[in-house]
């Protein structure tokens, strides 16, 4: 019976992936609620869990494709592949409107441009300092320092190595966690108590899960404003990182 189920699950890899990732999300949400009091968003724990799974897969099989080198988990490769990923990420733009962006004033647009640039430059700078010197890897990690979505999208677009993409996810994950934890503590200092500031904050930070958790802990009423700015941040990031920023890096590097 168990053998039969195992065979069925291997033969229907994508469905198995839905089950595995679904269970991971459930466990992560449980950890988030019970162990961190909701302070650490379930999404961040789940992405971290994904990286751990990849590590375990790499150590056990000696392969390059994380957990998907184990046949039972092969479907995760399809679920987390570029096609579904791009599809789902494009979908997150739905609901954002340029009219709302225009109405929110010039400071939000400045926040968006500045937020992406600052994160990209500090991410690529850190990667350079740690010995990564090729434009594709630097651009991928820099984009990852923007968010863990912009990073892999940029990495795939530029044909980066899986190692670089993993690092970009990790950088984005660190950012999201810092934003989650720091926001409620800094809210008073930043006067993060009105929609306008929430949008500026969302535009500067851009990390969807970090902003969602940070504003949830600060004032849930501000969440939609921060998240709308985050949607634009993701779009703008996916637009400029594998293009303008990449070309600038190509120019700067010998």
């Amino acid at each position: 019976m168990i053998e039969l189920l195992r065979h069925t699950m291997e033969a229907n890899g994508l469905l198995t992936a839905f089950v595995v990732v679904g269970v991971m999300m459930w466990v992560s949400n449980w950890i988030s609620k019970t162990l961190t009091g909701g302070r650490l968003h379930g999404s961040a724990i789940a992405v971290f869990g994904g990286l751990i799974l990849a590590y375990v897969g790499g150590v056990t099989t000696g392969g390059k494709n994380g957990i998907t080198d184990i046949p039972f988990f092969a479907g995760i490769g399809l679920m987390g592949g570029a096609m579904f990923r791009d599809f789902a990420i494009v979908a997150t733009a739905f609901g954002a409107s340029f009219e709302d962006l225009k109405r929110s004033g010039v400071s939000v647009m400045i926040a968006l441009a500045l937020g992406i640039t600052v994160s990209f430059v500090s991410g690529a700078g850190a990667a350079y300092a740690f010995g990564y010197h090729d434009a594709v890897t630097l651009c991928t990690i820099g984009a990852g320092a923007a968010t863990y979505i912009v990073g892999p999208v940029t990495g795939t677009a530029l044909g980066a190595s899986s190692e670089a993409i993993a690092l970009s996810i990790a950088a984005g994950l660190v950012k999201a966690i810092v934003v989650m934890i720091a926001t409620p503590h800094l809210a008073k200092k930043l006067q993060l108590n009105n929609p306008h500031t929430a949008m500026v904050y969302g535009g500067m930070m851009g990390t969807h899960s970090g902003i969602a958790a940070g504003l949830q802990a600060t004032d849930p009423k501000l969440m939609p404003y921060g998240l709308m700015a985050a949607a634009f941040y993701t779009g703008l990031g996916c637009l400029v990182c594998p293009s303008i920023f990449y070309f600038i890096l190509l120019r700067l590097l010998p």
Binding site: A88, I89, L173, L239
Partner: protein
Amino acid sequence: MMIYGTALLAICTLIGISIGEELGSFLGVKANVGGVGFAMLLLILTTSWLIKRGRFRPLSAEGIQFWSGIYIPIVVAMSAKQNVVVAMKGGPAAIVAGVLGVGISFAMIPYVNRIGAPKDALPAMLEEVPTENMR
């Protein structure tokens, strides 16, 4: 019908990625230049155009919202297939890259916030507060 939304999303994604490919070969780089970003732009423009004309039903929207709702699980799956073992040696770089940007960004918020107040009051968006813990 729900499939209308999903189909629209797929068209926007396909066109966006094609633009990125074309731009890449035009600029002489082996890369998809901004494809996903173009796709997002297209989706925002087409859906808001349709919504304004009352041609976009809530059911069609559901065909898009499902995919936007499972983007985190997809990112989790994507993380699980990376070469993390080799990436471990770059761990400190990733941590510094993440922390540095956030620190500077937080410090800049008060200054950016002061640049220009909105022309009109922002619309109420209360009803859109997600009740779920996670998208």
